[in-house]
Symmetry: C2
Subunit: 351 residues, 2 copies
């Protein structure tokens, strides 16, 4: 049975294209880097309906290889033909590991980000494309990505799903609470919160540089976090979100096109510093709670019960995100928490 | 991965309970029939969290058998215990075919209706319960149900899902149209429309009397329809919805409690006539587009392309709803259409 907005296949692409924050930021990034694209060879990893490939063709690319392993590549090819772009955009239906491109490429563009950045992400394919085809000094869009986390308070959500059972048309259904909490909170939840829900500045879980990251580095990501709550509030759990930055050779301060221009980006703090130092230079696609909502929303990990925290109370622990051994598509999340004399471990599977 | 409001198990019950049209109409119907419930034995078919059973206990039932085959029965039992109703409400975890009740019952209550009334409905279990346990002259709530259909116009929906592809950020993606139409319209779609979308008075696809209907009668339902469009408009397809009526011994005009009081309801038109004649007597739970929305919404069958119809144009054909042989849970829909010299057949599977 179909529900409006949830139907298979095309619906996914419709949702992504209609996410104007996503699609317009990509288009703006392509135009900002037009001097690196005009007359150059581009590969679009996971091209979907081909919209980013066509943006690149419109920006003057000499040739765009649009690669997608799914059936949507057939549609992308039809769209390209209908727009008389077959001479420029070459659709390759297959995995990046398997398709053949007989030249080096100047630019890789890809919209590879999954929920919580890494869940079902296509970053592995971007790395493969980079290592197979990208010229030294070539451009990767986006160039780097940062996954954040922060403690959140969200009483409305908790009331609506959990406290609701305490009084159901006058009947005390509290007996439902344990199961209701389990069903609501045993898995990460994709939903939209606002800046109001966030209790502190975020912590960087992982910053990754698309020019240098290896597939091995993605298998498991661990971070230790330490927050100081900015207010007294019931702590309901943690939110995760990400941003990606479209920097690279064309936006370095000296507009330096040398092959090594990205190498001096320290992946752990360089890009972030550069963004702050030159706020107008690198376009950023943000999925933060304080920014306009996107189809990625935010990913929430709820505790089964809220924890009252005081202003300035320290909240610390660690998070590990790792590929499930049960199913490579799934992501295991191991969360350790300690604050105010309480500590616990929460294990989740994002499936 | 969980999405807010779509998580498994408990979320389904939360959604149904929070449907105030549904739950409050059932409660009102129980109170309206209180004289038939006080001191009597009730069976609640598919009790879920047990809320209707508790309403019946509150209305003075001597004993309520709350039957559910799913794991939720364990929760219902906890809720009953926590409300000190274990002496009155007996939760039976099993199928109506399998559980044992060692007495005749005076009342059957059930919220058995599925999307489009019959999709994944529990009416078969109500029939089984009736034939196993209901006393002659006993009360069934709801007592009868009517499935309606009507031609609809819905340009906004068509534009949003289909015409959208004609201009995607300035790119002509019409090549996506065939697949987009297939993905959007090959299955029935559950969504909320309004009275504005409906082109004519509805046609009764099936009226069924819970006192007399047989399981055999549900295996296949066929109707011939004939509409005269009340306006010139693009016809996008058909909407289906239903209502159920809470009549029976206690609401017959003479307040007649004799065993045969329901027998003179002609299932094909009697109840409808009675409802119109005595509008204040029988409570009706309606899921019609002109009534407040419910979690059932309406079920839409779209054509792949809209058909322009003139005012007073005849639209005729037939619909057959039948259980799928591939999977008993699925419903096959066979729709024949003829109007203005055009005719076609559309086959759908609701899965």
């Amino acid at each position: 049975m179909a529900y409006f907005h949830s139907y298979a296949h095309v619906g996914i692409h419709e949702e992504m294209i209609k996410d104007r924050v996503r699609t317009e930021t990509y288009r703006a990034a392509i135009m900002q880097h037009q001097s690196s694209i005009t007359g150059k060879v581009v590969v679009d990893v996971g091209c979907g309906t081909g919209i980013l490939s066509i943006f690149c063709a419109q920006a003057g690319a000499k040739r765009v290889y649009a690669v997608d392993a799914s059936e949507i590549a057939v549609q992308a090819n039809e769209v390209v033909k209908a727009n008389n772009l077959s001479d420029t955009v070459i659709v390759l239906h297959g995995r990046v590991e398997d398709v053949q491109i007989d030249e080096e490429v100047d630019v890789i563009i890809s919209e590879w980000m999954g929920y919580m950045l890494l869940y079902e992400s296509m970053l592995g394919s971007v790395i493969t494309a980079r290592d197979r085809w990208l010229k030294p000094g070539g451009l990767i869009l986006p160039s780097n990505a940062t996954l954040y986390m922060a403690p959140i308070t969200h009483s409305d959500r908790y009331s609506e799903s959990i406290d609701f059972w305490r009084n159901v048309y006058g009947i005390d259904m509290s007996a439902m609470l344990p199961l209701a909490k389990q069903c609501a909170f045993e898995e990460p939840s994709v939903e939209t919160i606002t800046g109001e829900n966030v209790l502190t500045w975020p912590h960087v879980v992982k910053h990754l540089d698309c020019y240098t990251i290896s597939i091995h580095e993605l298998e498991s990501v661990t971070t230790r976090y330490k927050f100081k709550s900015m207010m007294r509030a019931p702590l309901h759990g943690f939110a995760f979100w990400f941003d990606v930055e479209f920097s690279g050779p064309a936006v370095s301060p000296t507009n330096n096109h040398t092959p090594s221009s990205h190498v001096d980006d320290n992946p752990l703090d360089g890009s972030q510093r550069k963004k702050r130092a030159n706020p107008n230079e690198a376009l950023v696609l943000s999925t933060a709670p304080e920014d306009p909502p996107t189809h990625w929303q935010q990913t929430l990990i709820y505790f089964y019960d809220p924890i009252e925290v005081e202003q300035d109370q320290l909240i610390e622990g660690s998070v590990t995100l790792s590929q499930s051994k049960e199913n490579a598509r799934f992501m295991n999340i191991h969360l350790e928490y300690a604050s105010g004399g309480r500590s616990f471990v929460k294990e989740l599977v994002m499936r």
